[in-house]
């Protein structure tokens, strides 16, 4: 089998095509058999987790994935504990990690940080979130979840709801869908938080049918996959504006009355109050299943990049 991930950086989901993702998904299916096993697939390898920004899920799932595969893990979270607090730049930190590890997982608040790191490092760099731009491994998990729930990613109607301007998970999910053939994507957000011009340009260039809207109610009956993200209060210059819009993007049992029975709700988590807790008990809620795929997808990815077998 040709391994399109071997030795590769993972900066954006757009660095790959659907064929590559299908290989990743097959590996993920296999990885799910080993969730309670300590493997020796990556024995002798060191994975560095460089999290310049806080993270719970992404960091821990990378750590568990690497450890399940038998790799050693080094790393840090936050800038205070490391030499960055003394004024070290990103380039020097990456050079150091490059000499210690076989792979670097990086999260940073600047857009393009992972790409820059990949230019400096000889070892592969995996982007675990760069500012508002990309979160490719989250998109891999999201697409895998859809594939598992619907047995296809093509031909479905999607709605991506929330902060489409600053939300990297939403952006990467939209980019990821452009590698497939969605029937239509609704981009639903307050006008202030619309998807960025380059995202819309990508959708146009790839010929994906999409529509920008401000409300969910009118389209809820058409949707197969509802991808919900958090709207952060701090994005609004005026707190009153936030108070006005926040309720309109809340997913409730009431709203779902008009939904298709097979509609599934995804959320990259953490959620605050954008999905009512009562929705958790409905058959629409798929976000905890989605979260559970974080480890096997990352196991599959690390295995493929580092040339292991599952």
């Amino acid at each position: 089998m040709h391994n399109p991930f071997l030795g590769k950086d993972v900066i954006s989901i757009l660095d790959f095509d659907r064929k590559a993702l299908e290989i990743l998904f097959e590996y993920t299916d296999r990885a799910r058999r080993y969730l309670n096993t300590k493997l020796r697939v990556l024995e002798g390898k060191v994975v560095a987790l460089a999290f310049f920004e806080p993270s719970t899920r992404t960091r821990l799932s990378f750590e568990v994935a690497a450890k399940r595969l038998g790799a050693d893990v080094i790393g840090f979270t936050g800038e205070e504990a490391i030499s960055v607090a003394k004024g070290e730049n990103l380039a020097d930190t990456i050079r150091m990690l490059n000499s210690y590890a076989n792979l670097i997982v990086l999260r940073h608040r600047f857009e393009g940080a992972a790409k820059f790191a990949a230019e400096i490092a000889d070892v592969p760099v995996v982007n675990a979130g760069d500012g508002k731009q990309h979160h490719p491994t989250q998109a891999m998990i999201d697409l895998y979840t859809v594939r598992t729930l619907f047995e296809t990613i093509d031909g479905l109607t999607y709605a991506v709801v929330g902060d489409l301007r600053y939300g990297r998970a939403a952006t990467s999910f939209i980019y990821g869908l452009t590698l497939f053939k969605p029937r239509k994507i609704y981009l639903i957000s307050p006008p202030l938080l619309r998807a960025r011009p380059e995202v819309l340009e990508t959708l146009r260039m790839k010929g994906i049918p999409f529509e920008e809207r401000s409300g969910i109610e009118d389209v809820i009956s058409e949707i197969d996959v509802l991808y919900v993200t958090r709207i952060q209060k701090e994005r609004f210059p005026d707190p009153m504006e936030y108070e006005k819009v926040k309720g309109s993007y809340r997913i409730t049992v009431d709203l779902l009355r008009n939904a298709k029975p097979e509609l599934k709700i995804l959320h990259p988590l953490p959620r605050v109050d954008e999905i009512d807790f009562r929705v958790d008990e409905t058959k629409h809620a798929a976000y905890f299943i989605q979260a559970s795929y974080g480890v096997p997808v990352r196991m599959a990815l690390l295995t493929l990049i580092l040339g292991g077998e599952l």
């Binding site: 730049n89 380039a91 608040r109 600047f110 857009e111 393009g112 940080a113 820059f116 500012g131 380059e198």
Partner: protein, 164 residues
């Protein structure tokens, strides 16, 4: 005073050897010098002629640089601020080469990214900006690091001052 007369009084003598950049959109000559990294302190004899009549453009700017023959990669960057510019290389008072500026596929280290949280705007990192040309007319560039799109007149405003 007729416009013909006005133009006449502004005529600058021919240069012996160097570069004449003609058909610069009116008012853009200083930006052309900036893209070329010329501040005037290099000691080169430079004539900057602005807002003169042009049959093609209505009004145009001209820059004449004595003693410096521009290299193709320098010339191409001019297209970022002056897409209509024509470049004449002069030797012994004769035009020995004439060509148009064309934006290269990749623009490196010349244009600043307007996104404040782009890694290229992080201080103390050994990084140069890099843009890929998405469209040529009108000009649209995309930052290779953060994906930000910039277009048309915005590009000229983002040219890094005295990058040379």
């Amino acid at each position: 005073m007729s416009s013909e007369h006005a133009e006449h009084t502004l005529k600058v003598t021919k240069i012996r050897s160097g570069t004449v950049i003609d058909h610069i959109p009116a008012g853009r000559a200083l930006e052309v010098l900036n893209v070329l990294g010329l501040t005037g302190r290099e000691g080169l004899r430079i004539a900057v002629i602005m807002n003169v009549e042009s049959r093609k453009l209505g009004r145009k700017d001209i820059v004449k640089i004595e003693g410096k023959k521009l290299k193709p990669e320098e010339v191409n960057m001019i297209a970022l601020v002056a897409p209509t510019a024509t470049i004449n290389i002069i030797d012994d008072f004769n035009v020995v080469q004439k060509f148009r500026a064309e934006v290269p596929d990749i623009v490196e280290g010349v244009v600043r990214c307007p996104n404040p949280t782009c890694i290229t705007n992080k201080s103390r990192e050994p990084i140069k900006t890099r843009f890929v040309v998405i469209k040529r007319s009108p000009l649209v560039l995309q930052c290779c690091y953060c994906g930000t799109l910039i277009q048309g007149d915005e590009v000229a405003k983002l040219v890094i001052k005295h990058h040379s």
